[in-house]
């Protein structure tokens, strides 16, 4: 996996490169918009991380040009501007996700994994069923079973589980859940999401031999498709 970081702050780019290295990703760095555009056109990357405010050519215009070329590499926008409008603008320019600086590395990692996974299942047929381990979700009848036993969920719990199942075996953060399950782009002071997770976990894991839904300390949650004796 090789990423392209387009970021003018050299030390920020360096830290980011190191951080990504810790997760097992290699990255090249471009220091301005023009350089970023050239590098993204010349080489094949698995992901672009693009800062918005760049010298020579701003990040959104770089991204727009690349999309106009017909390139579908997933793009994560890193921006110091955090208003909802800025986010909308970023996504409209062709960004697949939008992270506001300063961000936690764990948050970035989770979002990168979600993006890479999304592109992997890019051209599959419209699903009617999601399966993770012995957990089945029927998207049409909206029924969930674990090991053949029906699990009864409220509508929001269903959406929460659906999101977790689509990102099974990778970490999803509280912010990702708030954005994608509740459609809220702010962080409540209290950990409201934790409570919803623990309710879902009760229904999902309580009567079964091993838990699937795990909390990842300092990051978020993960739904594991296989039994993880260490986490029990």
């Amino acid at each position: 996996m090789r990423f392209l970081i387009i970021e003018d702050d050299a030390s920020a780019a360096d830290f980011l490169k190191k951080g990504l290295g810790g997760f097992g990703y290699d990255a090249d760095v471009a220091h301005d918009g023009d350089e970023g555009l050239t590098m993204a056109r010349d080489q094949d990357y698995d992901l672009w991380l693009i800062d918005v405010m760049l010298p020579k050519r701003d990040g959104l215009s770089v991204l727009k040009s690349l999309r106009d070329d017909g390139r579908h590499v997933p793009a994560l926008i890193l921006s110091a501007r955090g208003q909802v409008d800025d986010r909308v603008e970023g996504l409209r320019a062709g960004g697949d996700d939008y992270v506001v600086k300063p961000y936690a590395l764990a948050e970035l990692q989770a979002r990168i994994e979600a993006l890479l996974r999304r592109t992997k299942s890019f051209d599959t047929h419209p699903e009617t069923e999601i399966v993770v381990g012995d957990l089945h979700m029927d998207l049409l009848s909206r029924a969930v079973t674990r090991a053949g036993q029906e699990v009864f969920l409220k509508p929001r719990e269903f959406r929460l589980l659906e999101y977790l199942m689509r990102h099974a075996d990778s970490v999803v953060t509280r912010t990702m859940l708030l954005e994608n399950v509740w459609d809220y782009f702010f962080d409540p002071q209290t950990n409201v999401v934790d409570v919803h997770i623990s309710r879902l976990r009760y229904k999902l894991d309580k009567y079964f031999p091993y838990p699937m839904l795990h909390t990842v300390r300092g990051s978020g949650y993960t739904l594991r498709s296989t039994r993880d004796p260490e986490a029990e």
Binding site: G82, Q83, V84, Y184, F186, P188, Q189, T190, H196
Partner: protein, 462 residues
């Protein structure tokens, strides 16, 4: 920064002065046109009268001649001159041989009057006035192929009437013109003074950066409206700048403290030089950074919301649904803390608003409620239509806010809990207020029915 030229030069260049001059010029041009027309008409009428008299005389003389002879004609002429005592005319009779038979009257005619069929005009001299030149109208007609009679009448009276008319017209025009110019000048001066007031004020504010000055508001004309509007802009600007100043004060206060804690923590850890402590210190640093990040984000949102620079995406939204969603988000949390959370929300309360901002405001309030209400306590969320507004009430049986704090809780960095044992930035309620006001709504704090805190939010319905 532009400034008007001083004194008369500025006055002359001012808009009303220029308007006055232009209007005056237009007036003069129009009046002159009228003058020439009237002059021509009057001259025509007066000349017509003289000509009519000449033709009447010709008729009379012809009749006299028919009744008598050339003798009778001559005595008739003499009689006419004497009877009427009119000396503004001359009669001349010439026989077939070209000899002058008679010439009487006050006008000295040239020896040979140019022949003409009708009435013509000629320069003559008035004998009784020492040969003063005068225009005259004359008529020549033959009688019985023997005599040529010439009658001339002076145009002096006509000329006098015309002169009188001309001077009367000119004097009145000059009077009106000067009145207009003086009036225009005074108007220009008044206008200029008021504009100059505005300019002086603008320069004063520009030079000193002091936004407390205001335009004087006099009377009820368009200038006073302009002054009022400019004052309103200054009010708004002053408020914004105060806000900015307060924000920077707050930032200094609430970001410096954690910064200095961070610094000391890091320096002490480095001094101790015990690698075993590094990890613990870094963990503390990270927590502190997160806290600062929260404060920073809140301050930024608050500043943007209050300064009006926040891009608010207002759309028709179902407030009932928004409230249900928030209740659904917080319900399990309250339940886990052993609190009773009740909501009464009517369906389809439609408003124009930004879902994110309103949800964030309500989430801030609910964060507080859940945080402070003890186990077994109660939280209620109700909504209804009151006086064409959506009224949202959030009541709880928590410790409440002491009377003397109630006015201050919406201010920045005010925390009711003096020990600050629970986490919080002290900006939550300021943000709530700012977000509600972005929706032309308002929030109040009043006597709780449950013994704790009662927030009432009013939002305009769609």
């Amino acid at each position: 920064m532009g400034r008007l030229l001083p004194g008369a030069a500025a006055l002359l260049l001012s808009t009303p002065a220029r308007l006055t001059l232009a209007l005056s010029a237009l007036y003069v041009a129009g009046t002159l046109l009228v003058f020439f027309f009237l002059n021509f008409q009057l001259h025509d009428v007066l000349t017509g009268q003289v000509d009519k008299a000449l033709i009447e005389q010709k008729t009379r003389l012809l009749m006299q001649y028919k009744e008598g002879s050339s003798r009778a004609l001559i005595s008739a002429i003499r009689a006419e001159l004497q009877n009427r005592g009119q000396i503004d005319r001359t009669y001349r009779v010439i026989d077939a041989k070209g000899l002058k038979v008679l010439e009487v009257g006050d006008l000295q005619l040239p020896p040979n009057l140019p022949l003409s069929k009708g009435i013509s005009e000629i320069e003559t001299r008035v004998i009784s006035k020492e040969g003063k030149p005068a225009k005259a109208r004359y008529l020549i007609f033959p009688i019985a192929n023997q005599l040529n009679v010439e009658i001339a009448r002076s145009m002096e009276t006509t000329e006098e009437v015309m002169a009188g008319f001309r001077s009367a017209f000119m004097i009145s025009m000059a009077l009106i013109l000067s009145l207009g110019l003086v009036g225009g000048w005074l108007l220009a001066k008044r206008f200029w003074r008021q504009i100059d007031d505005f300019n002086q004020m603008a320069m004063k504010i520009f030079n000193s950066g002091n936004l407390t000055s205001r335009m004087p508001v006099k009377g009820n004309d368009e200038f006073s409206v302009l002054a009022k509007n400019m004052n309103a802009i200054l009010d708004k600007m002053e408020k914004l700048f105060q806000g900015v100043r307060q924000v920077s004060d707050n930032i200094a206060h609430d970001l410096r403290s954690p910064l200095s804690r961070l610094r000391v923590d890091v320096e002490v850890t480095l001094q101790e030089n015990n690698p075993q402590n590094y990890r613990m210190t870094l963990d503390r640093v990270l927590t502190e950074l997160q806290n600062m990040q929260d404060i920073f984000q809140s301050l930024l949102s608050l500043g943007q919301a209050e300064a009006g620079s926040m891009k608010i995406r207002k759309k028709p939204i179902d407030l009932s649904q928004l409230l249900e969603d928030i209740v659904e988000l917080y319900g399990p949390l309250a339940e886990d803390k052993g609190q009773i959370f009740e909501a009464h929300i009517p369906s389809k309360l439609m408003i124009d608003g930004d879902r994110q901002l309103l949800a964030q405001a309500l989430s801030n309030l609910l964060d507080n409620a859940v945080k402070y209400v003890p186990e077994g306590g109660k939280i209620t969320l109700t909504a209804e239509i009151k006086n064409d507004k959506a009224e949202i009430q959030l009541d709880d049986s928590g410790p409440g806010i002491p009377q003397d704090m109630r006015k201050k809780v919406f201010d920045r960095f005010v925390r009711v809990d003096p020990s600050r044992t629970l986490p919080g930035t002290g900006l939550g309620l300021s943000l709530v207020k700012a977000f509600i006001e972005l929706h032309q709504g308002h929030i109040t704090l009043s006597e709780s029915r449950l013994g704790g805190t009662l927030f009432s939010i009013y939002l305009p319905l769609k």
